[in-house]
Symmetry: D2
Subunit: 372 residues, 4 copies
Amino acid sequence: MTGTKSMTATKSMTATKSTAMQTAVLGVSGYAGAELARLLLHHPRLHGTAPVFFGRESANDESIALTDLHPQLADNNGSGHGSGSLRVEPFRWAALRERDIDVVFLATPHEQSRAWVPDLLSHGVRVIDLSGAWRLQQPENRAVYKFEDTDATIAATTQQQAVYGMPELHRAAIKGAKIVANPGCYSTAAILGLAPLVRSGWADLNRGIICDAKSGVSGAGKAPTAKTHFMYAADNLSAYSVFGHRHTGEILEQLDLAPQQMTFTPHLLPIPRGILATIYVTLREPMQASAIAECYRSFYKDSPLVRFHGERLPQIQHVVRTNFCDIGFALAADKQRLIVVSCLDNLLKGAAGQAVQNMNLLFGWPEQEGLL
Amino acid sequence: MTGTKSMTATKSMTATKSTAMQTAVLGVSGYAGAELARLLLHHPRLHGTAPVFFGRESANDESIALTDLHPQLADNNGSGHGSGSLRVEPFRWAALRERDIDVVFLATPHEQSRAWVPDLLSHGVRVIDLSGAWRLQQPENRAVYKFEDTDATIAATTQQQAVYGMPELHRAAIKGAKIVANPGCYSTAAILGLAPLVRSGWADLNRGIICDAKSGVSGAGKAPTAKTHFMYAADNLSAYSVFGHRHTGEILEQLDLAPQQMTFTPHLLPIPRGILATIYVTLREPMQASAIAECYRSFYKDSPLVRFHGERLPQIQHVVRTNFCDIGFALAADKQRLIVVSCLDNLLKGAAGQAVQNMNLLFGWPEQEGLL
Amino acid sequence: MTGTKSMTATKSMTATKSTAMQTAVLGVSGYAGAELARLLLHHPRLHGTAPVFFGRESANDESIALTDLHPQLADNNGSGHGSGSLRVEPFRWAALRERDIDVVFLATPHEQSRAWVPDLLSHGVRVIDLSGAWRLQQPENRAVYKFEDTDATIAATTQQQAVYGMPELHRAAIKGAKIVANPGCYSTAAILGLAPLVRSGWADLNRGIICDAKSGVSGAGKAPTAKTHFMYAADNLSAYSVFGHRHTGEILEQLDLAPQQMTFTPHLLPIPRGILATIYVTLREPMQASAIAECYRSFYKDSPLVRFHGERLPQIQHVVRTNFCDIGFALAADKQRLIVVSCLDNLLKGAAGQAVQNMNLLFGWPEQEGLL
Amino acid sequence: MTGTKSMTATKSMTATKSTAMQTAVLGVSGYAGAELARLLLHHPRLHGTAPVFFGRESANDESIALTDLHPQLADNNGSGHGSGSLRVEPFRWAALRERDIDVVFLATPHEQSRAWVPDLLSHGVRVIDLSGAWRLQQPENRAVYKFEDTDATIAATTQQQAVYGMPELHRAAIKGAKIVANPGCYSTAAILGLAPLVRSGWADLNRGIICDAKSGVSGAGKAPTAKTHFMYAADNLSAYSVFGHRHTGEILEQLDLAPQQMTFTPHLLPIPRGILATIYVTLREPMQASAIAECYRSFYKDSPLVRFHGERLPQIQHVVRTNFCDIGFALAADKQRLIVVSCLDNLLKGAAGQAVQNMNLLFGWPEQEGLL
């Protein structure tokens, strides 16, 4: 493969590129960006090929050290090598070709991702977008983001190309995707917790599904606000965005549910990271716990990053700083009321880790590579 | 009133006792005990009459200083007066009469409360029991405690005398009660959050009610265990006692629900104190938010310790260290799916504060006295 | 006393005013402001006379409800009385006279306090200023605030009138003060921990005193910043303003130390409130612990809001939400190296509580009134 | 190399063993044990050779799953490989030879390590002991542990063979050691923060060095106690073991200080992990910051796991879950008062990570292998 990439070139990259894959990260300054940088820098298949980091922090056309943004990524200062010498550059379109970039991770605001992806595709790179820009196929679900597309036709065409980046549901499609719309953190917990049950047809959708979810503060982003102030979040718990959270649409679309069939309630937990979703389902008819367990085991038997615990309920501290989604359940004595608990690290399986999992699929590598 | 009290005497105490009421606390060493001590010591109607503190910490027939158990209750050391000089005595039955005690607060283990209350009544004192010993009238609900009554007849008679100590529901009965069974912390949040709606008949009970509740660690008690270890609770969230928590029976009895109509799920929050319950109800038919708000306002119009916030959802930090139960709600666009959020401080409105509220009723004082 | 107050009038207020004292709070929106509001609303001597609240939150000449700023101050909604109906008004100079205000608490930024106090004095009110505007008499210590006084003469005259509001050191002067400069939170912990020892002449000042202090996040104020973000403060500890914190000058002035004799290092603790100062002193010569204990006991024997614990070291959780400063010490085997631990609640004894203590002195009431 | 190992064999292991090194961990149930298991399971040079885990949890001669002790170490359940299948076995002396074990990590109580090490050595294995059993050469420093050696001669001989396992100070000696006494967590922070300065002779030891250190709760161990209860540790800070902490002796011995030259004060932080030490030193004479920086840079230029930040002070969140010790300093305007801040993760550089670093040296591998 030469330096000149075309739309065609992107399709064959896993087959023909002889040199190491080159990744780039746009928007490395946030929490997900920092995790992404860490994962890519330590990825065994990218060894020796650090990502190109682009960021608006590098103002005035000058780059800054990655470790000025994220001191925890520093090597020892004496050695002079490693991440200590990495730079965050101002973004330039020409850099995509000059640096021979194969895949761009977008850890940018929704609006920026929405605006930039068509141009990125036209430059012959694949995109893994961590924002909510391209996750939703239904306009009524997407409305909550209030996107203002400058060219509706291009936006529509691009949207059709976007694959929802949940490997456990869309493994094959992701492998050939040009745009991977990396799922929301809450959505990942909810969908993985529900998919086996909903797909099996055992859930009584008319009774409604309730997903009571709780997330650590990193989910609210790095911008200092009244709600991310330590004095607001610490020693507290609050529900927010009730009946209106942006991730609801992803759950509806992926599980093929009508709006009134799913109630999703997020809460802000006084912890740095981690999501736990307590999901309430009524079964169409009484069932044995063993059948439910078998349903989940079978569904996830080829998914190395889902840990199913049967009737042992998972908890946040066992998934934090891992890329696992842990799932367990409890069945009432009436054998019909079912509680599924699903939890994950919102910055890893809920963001940067899942993005790397998607990259692994794009490049034809084992999906858990660099994530254990 | 003389030192000789009889069962009859207890009935008329509010009318005839000319001197200050004398309270006693059994089991002051725990978290609820400490709050109870603090509230009673500062209660305006008990001024000058400190409670008698009994506790097993006072071994070998020797008393210990209250402030050795709870240093935060200390006055300055120089003054020599105030709580600094209070003692926790070994319990003696004779002390009840010698100290002319009117009301005994039990902050003792369930089993001890179950065993002692009949004898306490026979000594002519009234009892406010903070344990779960006497809250449940239905044997099938009480079974979870595995009580072994030595005399089933006495236990049954005593049980009939016990009034569930939730002033908002049983104000009149509490005023004349000999035994007030102070409600559980979770139960208080759930029942107060649901009572107006269930009593109005608007909730579709066949669709099931879900109460997803979260509590701070003080709810787990003072005993050091694997689950109260800082390393277990901090930066974590876990569900526990799913489909089997002891407080479920209280909710069923007080709201007159069948077991399959209520799903109650407790979670352990990484905070010292506070409970937030997110309650999911389906209405029988679509309703306006204003009607729901009016239902709650009307129900609690004479309840000074419930704050109803309408469509503003309450949060834990606004109730911690208060005796309020804060309630708010959100209604879905379909006008039928309803979320009620109810929260309180588990050691105050969920324990010691509610106990003092009950004492106020027993003594004929305004129920919020000493609690604002 | 009539509505017309003059400078003379302020001097005699404790003697002649027959009606309740009228307080006002400027800048009630912050953390100290909220605590101040709470303390004043429950103060037994101010019963029935709520403070007048002024704040910039009340934009466009419209007032807002106090409980919109601080929901935790709300009474139950049903009653219609109490703090639920209190308003925060836009400040008007004329209001000082119209509302017959005796004392104004300033919980305003340093610069605003510096600018406004002379005018407030000229309106015949007394001022208790919680900012750092008037605490420092030495220009070289004050330099760190970079005040730009519009009239240097007035500023100098006003500065001379300011009394450092630490009752344990300046009780008599505070009683007659027109301006009470309420001490800084760190300064209070450090000065109270050191004063007995330094005044006794036992500390070897040439060896240097080290005050290693740690504060909860509320000390950093309510403005959302990178450092008050939950993700920065939680699970973390960091030193800051090393060799340059603004409170250093207060410690030097009050203890009459030279700069090189005191090293003061603040750290940001991952807790909402509380300060603990670990203070290292070398004694001029070996001493017995009993002599040190006697020195402290004697010094604070008439100070009801200092609790001296002897050789038991105090900890933050016993002072949080109290107005006490707790002090203890440990002496090395060599009887010469001494560690004093001093701790307090930065919003109470370190701010609003001490301000009320100063108000009590101004009005001739017991200094602990409304603070226990 | 055959299965028969002798004392001689241990000396040549790095040179001649053709197969992978076999490690064993005794006492894997604690926090350091869990970290050690994780590090060894992912160590690139041990790939394919999982450690042998011994533990008392495996009672009745039956083994238990490692992931029952530490669920966070589990792979996904579907795969059936990886750590999910690892067992913790009851310890048997014969197993040392049967499993061809080269190095045993002891994460056992001090007393057990003291008792077992001589026998382990006689079985021809090398030992890396994470307890305090063998760290101290001076009997007066060791006295604090109250060891009761059954054979004083053997104990003395064994003690002489023990090398203090701080690679930055004793790299060469560790490479040939039979017993590596892995340093204490506080000691590591203090010694690394001070060694360059003390060795250079610039610190005025007569003025005394003060080390004010703060540690997360994991340092207190896994046993549930009153002090590790969430309600004690959360929202709190307390000093403990003042003038008597067990790690003091290590600091004195390694820096060759007299007891009165070092004051070491530990505090319990309300965080899971991390230590920050604020160290106060007076220089013999005024110096430039650049000279101090050069002193540290030079001292640690070959130490890949120390990050020296110059005049930028490090903080806990940047070292947690890394094996780095971060060091920075601030110099007063008088150029003589110096504050050094040193911080690390108490379970990694302060325990398990440093143990692996020592193993790397023993085996002749780069010391940071598996630790970045």
